[in-house]
Symmetry: C2
Subunit: 233 residues, 2 copies
DNA sequence: GACTGTGAATACCTTCACAGCA
DNA sequence: TGCTGTGAAGGTATTCACAGTC
């Protein structure tokens, strides 16, 4: 789970992309945002007609926020995609990154809590990336239930278990107040959700081991205020 | 900057809270979210009338997302607040945490980019924490400029430099598309902003060393989809 | 006996540096 | 010569384990 595995039998030249990865390669949480950054940068270079890139050139594209050594380590774990002395061909790299990151699939999202945060997230993510589709929205406030959003009706949270299972949601987004978040999370998982994005500032404490990412907006601001109040002294 | 410093002259019993911390204690980025979590949990316990807490009890409150050893290490760096054999008194702990985290001050926020994300953030943060005040909002779209939000008018981004300086904003929030984000960031810093919360998925590449926190919503979702697509195989 | 404070041990991630190929 | 792939080194954060104190 922690350690990225490396293909033990590197192959030659025309690499069968889809099979190049070991079956269960899992990268750690710190490397994935990097892979995603590589994908963005390389897709841009690709659009400009570039065909190859070196680890140094890619570091340059990323404003040296990531070192070339780090890039090589990361890309190496994707399979034998580089050529010593030459660099990396961009096309297979982009394909492989997309495969590993799950960019090829479409994902069905359920949003629980349709306040400002839930609303903004729904609009933002569907506008930004086509691979995400919001297929269910829940709230418990009578004033919100029944509202329309892009042709979809906000459901009562009480219906969550049934609706989430029915619509086959993969990903749950929690944008409810902290006290109710853990219970909502467990219900989402029971209904078949495999991953959760949690905006509530509380641990979810799930029985089932499921992938969770926490985003704590007030917490991020607090990191900033800590530094400011230190400097002020 | 990296290493939390420890008061070299620990004092006895009635600790003058405000002075207990060394003048320039700065905790690293990984510890601050933890301190914030402690503060939340302890404020809750305090509200329930609890007076003392042990590192183990606090770990319990946090659903063991943080180990008791980690908690002791963190709290130790705040000053001599614990009593061997007894635990920690909650009140001074909460005060000290608030001091270190900058929870006591008020912070003046400028938001650049008033699309869904900027709008949601403004509403969310002012509703959630009184210590944050949104004092300036900018956008470059003519349809957005001049809009009202809680009695404030959205300004033209062209006015940013003047208005941010005039209103004494401490914190800038960037919710604009990635390509323009670095330029906006530099202008914010030049106008006096000391810390930036960045929602654009791009490095800001600032000349001036200023505190920046990045939140990449699409990136967070991608971490989830990576894991899902691994499991699917 | 209980619990903190903390050096030592461990685990983890990143960078270095260079062997191996083109 | 140029650049990847990778073991080894370095640095940092977390956990262990226990001496010190109440």
């Amino acid at each position: 789970m922690r350690q990225a595995m490396i293909d033990p039998t590197p192959q030659r030249d025309p690499i069968p992309i889809a099979d190049a990865l070991p079956a269960r390669a899992i990268f750690h949480e710190l490397s994935i945002p990097r892979l995603y950054a590589y994908h963005r940068a390389l897709a841009g270079a690709q659009a400009e007609g570039k065909r190859t890139v070196t680890s140094h050139a890619l570091a340059e594209l990323l404003d040296h926020t990531i070192s070339s050594a780090q890039i090589r380590k990361d890309l190496c774990a994707l399979g034998p995609l580089g050529r010593r002395g030459r660099g990396y061909a961009i096309n297979p790299l982009v394909e492989q990154l997309a495969l590993v990151l799950g960019l090829g699939h479409d994902w069905r999202i359920a949003i629980v809590g349709f306040g400002f945060l839930g609303h903004a997230f729904a609009t933002f993510i569907t506008a930004r990336e086509r691979r995400f589709e919001v297929v269910a929205i829940f709230d418990q406030a009578p004033s919100v239930i029944g509202q329309e959003w892009q042709g979809m009706t906000v459901s009562d949270s009480a219906q969550l278990d049934r609706v989430v299972a029915q619509r086959g949601c993969n990903i749950g987004v929690i944008a409810v107040p902290a006290p109710v978040a853990p219970a909502i999370a467990q219900r989402l998982v029971n209904a078949g959700v495999q991953a959760i994005l949690n905006f509530a500032p509380t641990p979810l404490h799930l029985r089932t081991p499921v992938m969770v990412r926490n985003i704590d907006l007030a917490g991020e601001l607090t990191i900033l205020t800590h530094h400011l109040s230190c400097e002020a002294r």
